[in-house]
Amino acid sequence: MNRVLPWLLVTPAILAILVLLVLPLLDTISVTFIQEEGVFAGYQDFFDRRFNRGVLWRTVRIALIVTVIAIAIGFPTAYFIARAPRSWRSILIVASVFPLLTSTVVRSFAWIVILGRNGIINETLMGLGLISEPLSMLYTEGAIIVGLAYLFSPLMILSLVGVLENIDKSVVEASISLGASPAKTFWRVILPLAMPGVIVGAVLVFTGSFTSYTTPVLLGGQRNTVLATLLFREAMTEFDWASASTIAVIMMVLTISVVLIMSRVARRLNPAAA
Protein backbone atom coordinates (compact mmCIF):
# COMPACT_ATOMS: atom_id res chain seq x y z
CA MET A 1 0.00 0.00 0.00
CA ASN A 2 1.40 3.35 -0.87
CA ARG A 3 2.11 5.81 1.90
CA VAL A 4 1.46 8.92 -0.11
CA LEU A 5 -2.26 8.44 -0.71
CA PRO A 6 -3.46 9.00 2.88
CA TRP A 7 -1.45 12.21 3.11
CA LEU A 8 -2.59 13.29 -0.31
CA LEU A 9 -6.20 13.02 0.81
CA VAL A 10 -5.80 15.02 4.01
CA THR A 11 -3.52 17.69 2.56
CA PRO A 12 -6.22 20.05 1.24
CA ALA A 13 -7.96 20.12 4.61
CA ILE A 14 -4.69 20.58 6.50
CA LEU A 15 -3.57 23.36 4.17
CA ALA A 16 -6.92 25.13 4.40
CA ILE A 17 -6.88 25.18 8.18
CA LEU A 18 -3.18 26.01 8.36
CA VAL A 19 -3.22 28.89 5.88
CA LEU A 20 -6.68 30.29 6.50
CA LEU A 21 -7.06 29.76 10.23
CA VAL A 22 -3.75 29.15 11.97
CA LEU A 23 -1.71 31.77 10.09
CA PRO A 24 -4.24 34.59 10.60
CA LEU A 25 -4.42 33.67 14.28
CA LEU A 26 -0.63 33.67 14.59
CA ASP A 27 -0.65 37.06 12.91
CA THR A 28 -3.12 38.35 15.50
CA ILE A 29 -1.08 36.85 18.32
CA SER A 30 2.16 38.32 17.05
CA VAL A 31 0.60 41.78 16.84
CA THR A 32 -0.01 41.73 20.59
CA PHE A 33 3.63 41.07 21.43
CA ILE A 34 5.19 43.50 18.96
CA GLN A 35 4.57 46.67 20.88
CA GLU A 36 6.80 49.69 21.16
CA GLU A 37 6.50 49.75 24.95
CA GLY A 38 7.60 46.12 25.40
CA VAL A 39 6.55 42.56 24.74
CA PHE A 40 3.78 42.35 27.32
CA ALA A 41 2.80 45.99 27.22
CA GLY A 42 -0.49 45.23 25.46
CA TYR A 43 -1.58 42.85 28.20
CA GLN A 44 -0.23 45.13 30.93
CA ASP A 45 -2.31 47.90 29.45
CA PHE A 46 -5.43 45.71 29.24
CA PHE A 47 -5.29 44.54 32.83
CA ASP A 48 -4.33 47.99 34.14
CA ARG A 49 -7.68 49.35 33.15
CA ARG A 50 -10.33 48.87 35.79
CA PHE A 51 -13.01 48.90 33.09
CA ASN A 52 -11.43 46.01 31.20
CA ARG A 53 -11.02 43.94 34.34
CA GLY A 54 -14.70 44.57 35.02
CA VAL A 55 -15.62 43.42 31.51
CA LEU A 56 -13.52 40.27 31.83
CA TRP A 57 -15.00 39.43 35.21
CA ARG A 58 -18.54 40.12 33.97
CA THR A 59 -17.99 37.85 30.97
CA VAL A 60 -16.65 35.01 33.12
CA ARG A 61 -19.40 35.52 35.71
CA ILE A 62 -22.15 35.44 33.09
CA ALA A 63 -20.69 32.32 31.46
CA LEU A 64 -20.43 30.54 34.82
CA ILE A 65 -23.98 31.39 35.87
CA VAL A 66 -25.33 30.35 32.46
CA THR A 67 -23.45 27.04 32.73
CA VAL A 68 -24.91 26.33 36.16
CA ILE A 69 -28.43 27.19 34.95
CA ALA A 70 -27.99 25.02 31.87
CA ILE A 71 -26.94 22.05 34.01
CA ALA A 72 -29.81 22.63 36.42
CA ILE A 73 -32.47 22.67 33.74
CA GLY A 74 -30.68 20.40 31.28
CA PHE A 75 -30.12 17.43 33.56
CA PRO A 76 -33.70 16.66 34.57
CA THR A 77 -34.88 17.31 31.02
CA ALA A 78 -32.26 15.03 29.50
CA TYR A 79 -33.06 12.38 32.10
CA PHE A 80 -36.73 12.64 31.21
CA ILE A 81 -35.94 12.32 27.49
CA ALA A 82 -33.58 9.39 28.01
CA ARG A 83 -36.26 7.49 29.94
CA ALA A 84 -39.15 8.37 27.66
CA PRO A 85 -40.58 5.72 25.32
CA ARG A 86 -38.90 5.54 21.92
CA SER A 87 -41.62 7.30 19.95
CA TRP A 88 -41.66 10.19 22.41
CA ARG A 89 -37.93 10.43 22.61
CA SER A 90 -37.43 11.43 18.99
CA ILE A 91 -40.13 14.10 19.25
CA LEU A 92 -38.51 15.54 22.38
CA ILE A 93 -35.09 15.49 20.75
CA VAL A 94 -36.46 17.36 17.76
CA ALA A 95 -37.99 19.88 20.16
CA SER A 96 -34.53 20.37 21.70
CA VAL A 97 -32.71 20.52 18.38
CA PHE A 98 -35.09 22.91 16.70
CA PRO A 99 -34.01 25.99 18.69
CA LEU A 100 -30.37 25.12 17.92
CA LEU A 101 -31.04 25.25 14.20
CA THR A 102 -32.75 28.62 14.51
CA SER A 103 -30.72 31.79 14.12
CA THR A 104 -29.21 33.22 17.31
CA VAL A 105 -30.50 36.60 16.20
CA VAL A 106 -34.05 35.26 16.14
CA ARG A 107 -33.68 33.55 19.48
CA SER A 108 -32.20 36.59 21.20
CA PHE A 109 -34.75 38.83 19.53
CA ALA A 110 -37.52 36.71 21.08
CA TRP A 111 -36.44 37.88 24.50
CA ILE A 112 -36.79 41.51 23.47
CA VAL A 113 -40.44 40.70 22.85
CA ILE A 114 -40.69 39.06 26.26
CA LEU A 115 -38.59 41.34 28.45
CA GLY A 116 -39.07 44.71 26.71
CA ARG A 117 -40.90 47.77 28.07
CA ASN A 118 -44.02 46.70 26.18
CA GLY A 119 -43.10 43.04 26.47
CA ILE A 120 -45.22 40.22 27.74
CA ILE A 121 -43.99 40.25 31.31
CA ASN A 122 -44.53 43.98 31.79
CA GLU A 123 -47.92 43.94 30.03
CA THR A 124 -49.06 41.01 32.17
CA LEU A 125 -47.87 42.47 35.46
CA MET A 126 -49.39 45.86 34.68
CA GLY A 127 -52.57 44.21 33.50
CA LEU A 128 -52.82 42.43 36.83
CA GLY A 129 -52.16 45.70 38.58
CA LEU A 130 -49.09 44.36 40.34
CA ILE A 131 -46.89 47.17 39.05
CA SER A 132 -47.74 50.64 37.79
CA GLU A 133 -44.52 51.37 35.91
CA PRO A 134 -42.94 48.88 33.49
CA LEU A 135 -39.92 47.13 34.96
CA SER A 136 -36.69 47.65 33.06
CA MET A 137 -35.57 44.09 32.53
CA LEU A 138 -34.09 44.51 29.10
CA TYR A 139 -30.50 45.79 28.79
CA THR A 140 -29.42 44.24 32.05
CA GLU A 141 -26.95 41.53 32.93
CA GLY A 142 -29.91 39.37 33.94
CA ALA A 143 -31.35 39.67 30.43
CA ILE A 144 -28.05 38.48 28.95
CA ILE A 145 -28.02 35.52 31.33
CA VAL A 146 -31.60 34.54 30.51
CA GLY A 147 -30.94 34.90 26.78
CA LEU A 148 -27.75 32.82 26.90
CA ALA A 149 -29.32 30.15 29.12
CA TYR A 150 -32.08 29.95 26.55
CA LEU A 151 -29.56 29.80 23.72
CA PHE A 152 -27.34 27.09 25.15
CA SER A 153 -29.56 24.81 27.26
CA PRO A 154 -30.37 22.62 24.24
CA LEU A 155 -26.63 21.91 23.85
CA MET A 156 -26.51 20.73 27.45
CA ILE A 157 -29.62 18.61 26.99
CA LEU A 158 -28.25 16.92 23.88
CA SER A 159 -24.84 16.22 25.46
CA LEU A 160 -26.57 14.65 28.44
CA VAL A 161 -29.21 12.63 26.58
CA GLY A 162 -26.37 10.70 24.92
CA VAL A 163 -24.63 9.66 28.14
CA LEU A 164 -27.83 9.11 30.08
CA GLU A 165 -29.16 6.81 27.37
CA ASN A 166 -25.93 4.87 27.57
CA ILE A 167 -26.24 4.28 31.29
CA ASP A 168 -27.41 0.71 31.53
CA LYS A 169 -30.88 0.65 33.02
CA SER A 170 -29.98 -2.49 34.94
CA VAL A 171 -27.14 -0.67 36.72
CA VAL A 172 -29.73 1.71 38.15
CA GLU A 173 -31.93 -1.23 39.08
CA ALA A 174 -28.99 -3.02 40.68
CA SER A 175 -28.42 0.01 42.89
CA ILE A 176 -32.08 0.09 43.92
CA SER A 177 -32.25 -3.65 44.50
CA LEU A 178 -29.25 -3.30 46.83
CA GLY A 179 -31.23 -0.87 48.94
CA ALA A 180 -30.22 2.57 47.63
CA SER A 181 -33.18 4.99 47.51
CA PRO A 182 -33.87 6.71 44.16
CA ALA A 183 -32.18 9.87 45.48
CA LYS A 184 -29.09 7.98 46.64
CA THR A 185 -29.02 6.08 43.35
CA PHE A 186 -28.96 9.42 41.55
CA TRP A 187 -26.01 10.78 43.55
CA ARG A 188 -23.98 7.60 43.79
CA VAL A 189 -24.61 5.96 40.43
CA ILE A 190 -26.33 8.11 37.80
CA LEU A 191 -24.52 11.40 38.37
CA PRO A 192 -20.99 9.91 38.47
CA LEU A 193 -21.70 7.97 35.29
CA ALA A 194 -23.16 11.05 33.58
CA MET A 195 -20.24 13.26 34.62
CA PRO A 196 -18.40 13.05 31.28
CA GLY A 197 -21.56 14.29 29.57
CA VAL A 198 -22.02 17.06 32.11
CA ILE A 199 -18.46 18.20 31.46
CA VAL A 200 -18.82 18.12 27.68
CA GLY A 201 -22.07 20.08 27.96
CA ALA A 202 -20.59 22.52 30.46
CA VAL A 203 -17.60 23.19 28.19
CA LEU A 204 -19.88 23.85 25.23
CA VAL A 205 -22.15 26.15 27.23
CA PHE A 206 -19.33 27.96 29.01
CA THR A 207 -17.23 28.65 25.92
CA GLY A 208 -20.33 29.52 23.90
CA SER A 209 -21.50 32.01 26.51
CA PHE A 210 -18.01 33.33 27.13
CA THR A 211 -17.48 34.23 23.47
CA SER A 212 -21.05 35.15 22.53
CA TYR A 213 -21.69 38.41 20.75
CA THR A 214 -25.27 38.54 19.45
CA THR A 215 -27.10 38.04 22.73
CA PRO A 216 -25.10 40.60 24.77
CA VAL A 217 -25.50 43.15 21.97
CA LEU A 218 -29.27 42.69 21.72
CA LEU A 219 -30.16 42.11 25.36
CA GLY A 220 -27.30 43.80 27.22
CA GLY A 221 -27.36 47.22 25.66
CA GLN A 222 -24.47 49.67 25.91
CA ARG A 223 -23.68 49.40 29.59
CA ASN A 224 -23.22 45.65 29.96
CA THR A 225 -20.11 45.25 27.85
CA VAL A 226 -18.65 41.75 27.56
CA LEU A 227 -15.36 40.68 25.95
CA ALA A 228 -16.91 39.99 22.54
CA THR A 229 -18.65 43.35 22.33
CA LEU A 230 -15.51 45.07 23.64
CA LEU A 231 -13.45 43.34 20.94
CA PHE A 232 -15.87 44.54 18.29
CA ARG A 233 -15.90 48.09 19.63
CA GLU A 234 -12.09 48.32 19.84
CA ALA A 235 -11.72 46.99 16.31
CA MET A 236 -14.57 48.63 14.45
CA THR A 237 -15.34 51.83 16.41
CA GLU A 238 -12.03 52.78 18.03
CA PHE A 239 -9.90 51.20 15.28
CA ASP A 240 -7.45 50.21 17.99
CA TRP A 241 -6.32 46.95 16.45
CA ALA A 242 -3.61 46.28 18.95
CA SER A 243 -6.11 46.35 21.81
CA ALA A 244 -8.59 44.30 19.80
CA SER A 245 -5.90 41.71 19.12
CA THR A 246 -5.03 41.56 22.80
CA ILE A 247 -8.66 40.90 23.68
CA ALA A 248 -8.87 38.28 20.94
CA VAL A 249 -5.83 36.45 22.31
CA ILE A 250 -7.16 36.60 25.88
CA MET A 251 -10.47 35.11 24.72
CA MET A 252 -8.73 32.43 22.71
CA VAL A 253 -6.32 31.41 25.46
CA LEU A 254 -9.07 31.21 28.08
CA THR A 255 -11.40 29.24 25.81
CA ILE A 256 -8.79 26.73 24.70
CA SER A 257 -7.48 26.28 28.25
CA VAL A 258 -10.98 25.53 29.54
CA VAL A 259 -11.51 23.01 26.75
CA LEU A 260 -8.16 21.29 27.28
CA ILE A 261 -8.37 21.17 31.07
CA MET A 262 -11.94 19.94 31.14
CA SER A 263 -11.42 17.32 28.47
CA ARG A 264 -8.55 15.98 30.55
CA VAL A 265 -10.80 15.92 33.62
CA ALA A 266 -13.50 14.17 31.60
CA ARG A 267 -11.05 11.56 30.42
CA ARG A 268 -9.95 10.86 33.97
CA LEU A 269 -13.56 10.47 35.08
CA ASN A 270 -14.37 8.00 32.35
CA PRO A 271 -14.32 4.56 33.98
CA ALA A 272 -13.93 2.73 30.70
CA ALA A 273 -10.53 4.37 30.19
CA ALA A 274 -9.07 2.66 33.26
Binding site: R3, L5, P6, L9, V10, P12, A13, I17, L20, L21, P24, L25, D27, T28, I73, P76, Y79, F80, R83, L92, I93, V94, A95, S96, V97, F98, P99, L101, T102, S103, T104, V105, V106, F109, A110, V113, I114, N118, Y150, S153, L158, V161, P182, F210, Y213, T214, V217, L218, A228, L231, F232, A235, M236, W241, A244, S245, V249, M251, M252, T255
Partner: protein
Protein backbone atom coordinates in the same frame (compact mmCIF):
# COMPACT_ATOMS: atom_id res chain seq x y z
CA UNK B 1 -46.55 -0.15 34.64
CA UNK B 2 -43.41 1.85 35.38
CA UNK B 3 -43.83 4.90 37.59
CA UNK B 4 -42.25 8.21 36.68
CA UNK B 5 -41.80 10.97 39.23
CA UNK B 6 -44.37 13.75 38.68
CA UNK B 7 -41.76 16.34 39.68
CA UNK B 8 -39.56 15.20 36.80
CA UNK B 9 -42.47 15.40 34.35
CA UNK B 10 -43.39 18.92 35.49
CA UNK B 11 -39.78 20.10 35.25
CA UNK B 12 -39.42 18.67 31.76
CA UNK B 13 -42.66 20.28 30.59
CA UNK B 14 -41.57 23.63 32.04
CA UNK B 15 -38.21 23.39 30.26
CA UNK B 16 -39.84 22.63 26.93
CA UNK B 17 -42.16 25.60 27.36
CA UNK B 18 -39.04 27.67 28.06
CA UNK B 19 -37.34 26.28 24.93
CA UNK B 20 -40.20 26.61 22.49
CA UNK B 21 -42.38 29.34 24.02
CA UNK B 22 -40.24 32.29 22.90
CA UNK B 23 -40.33 31.03 19.31
CA UNK B 24 -44.11 30.74 19.47
CA UNK B 25 -44.27 34.28 20.86
CA UNK B 26 -42.15 35.61 17.99
CA UNK B 27 -44.43 33.87 15.52
CA UNK B 28 -47.51 35.35 17.19
CA UNK B 29 -46.00 38.83 17.28
CA UNK B 30 -45.33 38.68 13.54
CA UNK B 31 -49.02 38.85 12.66
CA UNK B 32 -49.78 41.80 14.92
CA UNK B 33 -51.33 44.75 13.14
CA UNK B 34 -49.26 47.23 15.16
CA UNK B 35 -46.18 49.34 14.49
CA UNK B 36 -44.48 47.84 17.52
CA UNK B 37 -43.93 44.33 18.82
CA UNK B 38 -46.99 43.16 20.70
CA UNK B 39 -47.94 39.94 22.38
CA UNK B 40 -50.67 38.80 22.40
CA UNK B 41 -50.90 40.19 18.85
CA UNK B 42 -53.35 43.05 18.39
CA UNK B 43 -55.37 42.63 15.25
CA UNK B 44 -54.28 40.47 12.37
CA UNK B 45 -52.11 41.50 9.48
CA UNK B 46 -49.66 39.93 7.11
CA UNK B 47 -48.17 43.29 6.20
CA UNK B 48 -44.94 42.62 8.08
CA UNK B 49 -44.40 39.55 5.94
CA UNK B 50 -44.91 41.72 2.88
CA UNK B 51 -42.49 44.21 4.38
CA UNK B 52 -39.78 41.56 4.64
CA UNK B 53 -39.76 41.31 0.87
CA UNK B 54 -40.00 45.07 0.41
CA UNK B 55 -36.92 45.86 2.46
CA UNK B 56 -34.32 45.42 -0.24
CA UNK B 57 -31.53 44.94 2.29
CA UNK B 58 -33.14 41.71 3.50
CA UNK B 59 -33.56 40.46 -0.03
CA UNK B 60 -29.99 41.25 -1.03
CA UNK B 61 -28.36 39.90 2.11
CA UNK B 62 -30.44 36.74 1.97
CA UNK B 63 -29.12 36.05 -1.51
CA UNK B 64 -25.56 36.66 -0.35
CA UNK B 65 -26.05 34.42 2.69
CA UNK B 66 -27.49 31.72 0.46
CA UNK B 67 -24.56 31.90 -1.95
CA UNK B 68 -22.00 31.89 0.85
CA UNK B 69 -23.70 28.98 2.63
CA UNK B 70 -24.05 26.87 -0.52
CA UNK B 71 -20.57 27.56 -1.82
CA UNK B 72 -18.91 27.31 1.58
CA UNK B 73 -20.64 24.01 2.35
CA UNK B 74 -19.72 22.65 -1.06
CA UNK B 75 -16.07 23.63 -0.64
CA UNK B 76 -15.92 22.20 2.87
CA UNK B 77 -17.29 18.88 1.60
CA UNK B 78 -14.88 18.93 -1.30
CA UNK B 79 -11.88 18.98 1.02
CA UNK B 80 -13.63 17.35 3.99
CA UNK B 81 -14.78 14.09 2.39
CA UNK B 82 -11.29 12.99 1.26
CA UNK B 83 -9.94 13.88 4.70
CA UNK B 84 -12.71 11.95 6.48
CA UNK B 85 -12.14 9.00 4.16
CA UNK B 86 -8.40 9.01 4.80
CA UNK B 87 -8.94 9.19 8.57
CA UNK B 88 -11.30 6.18 8.64
CA UNK B 89 -9.55 4.11 6.02
CA UNK B 90 -5.89 4.88 6.68
CA UNK B 91 -6.13 6.27 10.22
CA UNK B 92 -3.26 4.00 11.27
CA UNK B 93 -0.92 5.64 8.76
CA UNK B 94 -1.69 9.17 9.93
CA UNK B 95 -0.74 10.96 13.16
CA UNK B 96 -3.34 10.57 15.93
CA UNK B 97 -3.37 14.32 16.56
CA UNK B 98 -4.70 14.96 13.07
CA UNK B 99 -8.35 14.46 13.97
CA UNK B 100 -7.86 16.91 16.85
CA UNK B 101 -6.27 19.36 14.45
CA UNK B 102 -9.39 19.24 12.29
CA UNK B 103 -11.49 20.37 15.26
CA UNK B 104 -9.48 23.57 15.57
CA UNK B 105 -12.05 25.73 13.71
CA UNK B 106 -14.63 24.82 16.37
CA UNK B 107 -12.18 25.27 19.23
CA UNK B 108 -11.17 28.82 18.31
CA UNK B 109 -13.82 31.39 19.30
CA UNK B 110 -15.52 32.39 16.06
CA UNK B 111 -15.43 36.07 16.84
CA UNK B 112 -11.66 35.82 17.27
CA UNK B 113 -11.35 33.97 13.98
CA UNK B 114 -13.49 36.59 12.24
CA UNK B 115 -11.32 39.36 13.59
CA UNK B 116 -8.12 37.57 12.58
CA UNK B 117 -9.43 36.99 9.08
CA UNK B 118 -10.23 40.68 8.81
CA UNK B 119 -6.81 41.85 9.94
CA UNK B 120 -4.71 39.17 8.27
CA UNK B 121 -6.42 38.42 4.99
CA UNK B 122 -8.89 41.11 4.17
CA UNK B 123 -6.62 43.99 5.09
CA UNK B 124 -3.11 42.60 4.56
CA UNK B 125 -3.94 41.00 1.23
CA UNK B 126 -6.63 43.45 0.29
CA UNK B 127 -8.98 40.62 -0.55
CA UNK B 128 -12.56 41.66 -1.47
CA UNK B 129 -15.36 41.06 1.03
CA UNK B 130 -17.12 38.17 -0.70
CA UNK B 131 -14.17 35.78 -0.98
CA UNK B 132 -13.10 36.57 2.57
CA UNK B 133 -16.58 35.74 3.83
CA UNK B 134 -16.50 32.56 1.80
CA UNK B 135 -13.15 31.57 3.30
CA UNK B 136 -14.42 32.21 6.82
CA UNK B 137 -17.57 30.18 6.36
CA UNK B 138 -15.80 27.31 4.60
CA UNK B 139 -13.37 26.98 7.49
CA UNK B 140 -15.97 27.07 10.28
CA UNK B 141 -18.14 24.39 8.66
CA UNK B 142 -15.20 22.17 7.68
CA UNK B 143 -15.18 20.27 11.03
CA UNK B 144 -18.87 19.38 10.55
CA UNK B 145 -18.14 17.95 7.11
CA UNK B 146 -15.22 15.90 8.35
CA UNK B 147 -16.89 14.62 11.51
CA UNK B 148 -20.38 13.83 10.19
CA UNK B 149 -19.05 12.14 7.06
CA UNK B 150 -16.48 10.40 9.29
CA UNK B 151 -19.23 9.07 11.56
CA UNK B 152 -20.95 7.68 8.50
CA UNK B 153 -17.72 6.09 7.26
CA UNK B 154 -17.13 4.54 10.68
CA UNK B 155 -20.11 2.27 10.13
CA UNK B 156 -18.98 1.35 6.63
CA UNK B 157 -17.30 -2.01 6.25
CA UNK B 158 -14.25 -1.40 4.07
CA UNK B 159 -14.01 -5.07 3.15
CA UNK B 160 -16.81 -4.31 0.67
CA UNK B 161 -14.40 -1.92 -1.02
CA UNK B 162 -11.70 -4.59 -1.11
CA UNK B 163 -14.21 -7.06 -2.49
CA UNK B 164 -15.01 -4.67 -5.34
CA UNK B 165 -11.34 -4.17 -6.11
CA UNK B 166 -10.70 -7.93 -6.05
CA UNK B 167 -13.54 -8.26 -8.55
CA UNK B 168 -11.65 -6.01 -10.91
CA UNK B 169 -13.07 -2.56 -10.16
CA UNK B 170 -10.42 0.19 -10.28
CA UNK B 171 -9.89 2.03 -6.93
CA UNK B 172 -11.27 5.40 -8.02
CA UNK B 173 -14.35 3.82 -9.55
CA UNK B 174 -14.76 1.69 -6.42
CA UNK B 175 -14.92 4.84 -4.35
CA UNK B 176 -17.73 6.23 -6.52
CA UNK B 177 -19.71 3.02 -6.92
CA UNK B 178 -19.21 1.35 -3.54
CA UNK B 179 -18.16 3.85 -0.85
CA UNK B 180 -20.01 6.99 -1.90
CA UNK B 181 -23.50 5.45 -2.19
CA UNK B 182 -23.13 4.02 1.31
CA UNK B 183 -22.24 7.34 2.93
CA UNK B 184 -24.80 9.40 1.02
CA UNK B 185 -26.80 9.84 4.22
CA UNK B 186 -23.79 11.15 6.10
CA UNK B 187 -22.93 13.57 3.31
CA UNK B 188 -26.48 14.90 3.22
CA UNK B 189 -26.47 15.31 7.00
CA UNK B 190 -23.12 17.11 6.86
CA UNK B 191 -24.39 19.32 4.08
CA UNK B 192 -27.50 20.34 5.99
CA UNK B 193 -25.70 20.91 9.28
CA UNK B 194 -22.99 22.96 7.59
CA UNK B 195 -25.50 24.89 5.50
CA UNK B 196 -27.63 25.90 8.49
CA UNK B 197 -24.56 26.74 10.57
CA UNK B 198 -23.27 28.99 7.83
CA UNK B 199 -26.63 30.57 7.14
CA UNK B 200 -27.08 31.53 10.81
CA UNK B 201 -23.53 32.62 11.50
CA UNK B 202 -22.99 36.01 13.10
CA UNK B 203 -19.56 36.21 14.76
CA UNK B 204 -17.40 35.40 11.72
CA UNK B 205 -19.44 37.52 9.31
CA UNK B 206 -19.51 40.38 11.78
CA UNK B 207 -16.09 41.70 10.82
CA UNK B 208 -16.18 40.68 7.19
CA UNK B 209 -19.13 42.63 5.90
CA UNK B 210 -18.30 45.63 3.82
CA UNK B 211 -19.91 48.32 1.73
CA UNK B 212 -22.84 46.78 -0.12
CA UNK B 213 -22.13 43.26 1.07
CA UNK B 214 -23.58 41.86 4.26
CA UNK B 215 -25.19 38.63 5.39
CA UNK B 216 -28.78 38.19 6.48
CA UNK B 217 -28.11 37.64 10.20
CA UNK B 218 -25.93 40.75 10.34
CA UNK B 219 -28.60 42.74 8.52
CA UNK B 220 -31.22 41.46 10.98
CA UNK B 221 -29.00 42.43 13.88
CA UNK B 222 -28.62 45.96 12.52
CA UNK B 223 -32.35 46.20 11.88
CA UNK B 224 -33.31 45.03 15.37
CA UNK B 225 -30.92 47.53 16.92
CA UNK B 226 -32.69 50.37 15.09
CA UNK B 227 -36.35 49.38 14.54
CA UNK B 228 -38.93 47.89 16.83
CA UNK B 229 -41.57 46.89 14.29
CA UNK B 230 -42.52 43.23 13.77
CA UNK B 231 -40.67 42.87 10.44
CA UNK B 232 -37.89 40.83 12.00
CA UNK B 233 -40.52 38.68 13.74
CA UNK B 234 -42.03 37.94 10.33
CA UNK B 235 -38.59 37.22 8.89
CA UNK B 236 -37.91 34.94 11.87
CA UNK B 237 -41.05 32.97 11.06
CA UNK B 238 -39.88 32.54 7.48
CA UNK B 239 -36.47 31.33 8.65
CA UNK B 240 -38.07 28.93 11.13
CA UNK B 241 -40.23 27.59 8.31
CA UNK B 242 -37.06 26.99 6.35
CA UNK B 243 -35.57 25.13 9.33
CA UNK B 244 -38.70 23.00 9.68
CA UNK B 245 -38.50 22.19 6.00
CA UNK B 246 -34.88 21.13 6.32
CA UNK B 247 -35.60 19.03 9.41
CA UNK B 248 -38.46 17.36 7.59
CA UNK B 249 -36.10 16.47 4.76
CA UNK B 250 -33.61 15.02 7.23
CA UNK B 251 -36.34 13.08 9.03
CA UNK B 252 -37.62 11.68 5.75
CA UNK B 253 -34.24 10.64 4.41
CA UNK B 254 -32.12 9.82 7.46
CA UNK B 255 -34.25 9.62 10.57
CA UNK B 256 -33.62 11.98 13.45
CA UNK B 257 -30.79 10.00 14.98
CA UNK B 258 -28.42 12.23 13.09
CA UNK B 259 -29.13 15.20 15.31
CA UNK B 260 -28.02 13.45 18.44
CA UNK B 261 -24.49 12.66 17.37
Amino acid sequence: MQRSSPLLVITAIAVFIFLLGPLVIVAAASISNTEFLAFPPQGFSLRWFVNVFEVSAFRDTFLISLQIALLGTFLSLLIGIPAAYALSRFGFALPKALSNFFVLPILVPQIVFGFSLLSAISVDFDLPVFPTLLIGHTIIVLPYSIRVVGASLATFDFSAEEAAISLGCPPMKTFYTIVLPNIRGGILAAFILAFITSLNNVPVSLFLTGPGISTLPIQMLTYVENFFDPTVAALSVLLMALTVLVMAVVEKTLGLGYFVR
